[in-house]
Amino acid sequence: MEVFINMALLTLLAIVTVAIARQRNLFGAIILAGVYSFLMASLLIALDAVDVAMTEASVGAGVSTVFLLAALHLTQSLEQKSLHTAALPAAVACVIGGAVIWGTIGLSPFGTPDAIIHKHVAPKYINDTVKETGVPNVVTSVLADYRGYDTLGETTVIFTAGIGVMLLLRGSGRRRRQREAVGQASKSGEAS
């Protein structure tokens, strides 16, 4: 049953991906990207990765769809025809995709409990998290405690992205004040 659900979700993901690539209307592409994130969140729930599923649903399907629609509001809603042929990008995508598939051959089978990645630090985290941090959710204790550095970096990335978008869209304070001053000067010029 679980295999069937995973297969159905993966097939839908592939269909949506092709649809996004072929879609010229940007509004449709944004909505399909939201659908993609929602399918991905469902797949992650089926894989028992609830924390990641929650992030994918809230960030991917929720906020980023709103941001993309807001960005669409600033531009036109039809993609321009590309001047180049798609031959080179298609070749690069095929080579990289082939390399990724070739890499999966070396992995241990899906869901194996004694794969190398489950033998390294994972048993320590799972056994010691309540004893050492008092937090039963291993994901939280790994994110905020055992791997606190990584999450500090992640938070800094969010901070940097926010500052970057604000600078790009609003301009620095001095430039904005100059623009407003010019606007007021032209208004008073019109009045006199």
């Binding site: 929650m54 941090t133 937090v135 959710n137 204790s141 905020a144 938070t155 926010g162 978008v165």
Partner: protein, 138 residues
């Protein structure tokens, strides 16, 4: 009579539950799925939904722009500050063992403050980006 009555009343009914769910995800993250990142996005989603339905000027009354933009660095400072407090108590950076009387409670407090920092930065960044887009579109 306005035609979007159902939308406005429905949004008003939804908003408190969205905030409650964000707080639940934040403070129950130690036991269930979720944490500062997800809670921050849900809390920001509440403000964004309010702004979409009632207009940006109404939203700026409950989340003023100057406050939102000051909260963006505050969260990172809380996170990094927790790490520095770890150094001051004689441990490594981001080691919470000496934040309370026994190490387990120290770690609980450390995780709590660090998640609070993530919540503040993520939610305010999302709202600030939304405000920036809306202002540009005018």
């Amino acid at each position: 009579m306005r035609l979007d009555l159902i939308l406005r009343i429905g949004t008003k009914l939804l908003l408190p539950f969205m905030l409650l769910f964000a707080l639940y995800v934040q403070f129950h993250g130690d036991y269930g799925p979720g944490g500062g990142f997800q809670a921050g996005v849900i809390a920001a989603g509440m403000i964004i939904l309010y702004a979409l339905v009632f207009g940006i000027s109404k939203a700026k009354l409950i989340a003023p722009q100057w406050l939102v933009e000051r909260l963006v660095p505050l969260g990172v400072l809380i996170y990094a500050g927790t790490g520095v407090v770890g150094i001051l108590t004689g441990q490594n950076f981001l080691d919470y063992s000496h934040l309370a009387h026994d190490p387990v409670h120290g770690h609980e407090w450390g995780i709590f403050t660090v998640e609070l920092g993530v919540l503040i930065t993520v939610s305010s960044t999302m709202v600030a980006i939304f405000y920036a887009f809306v202002e540009r579109g005018r």
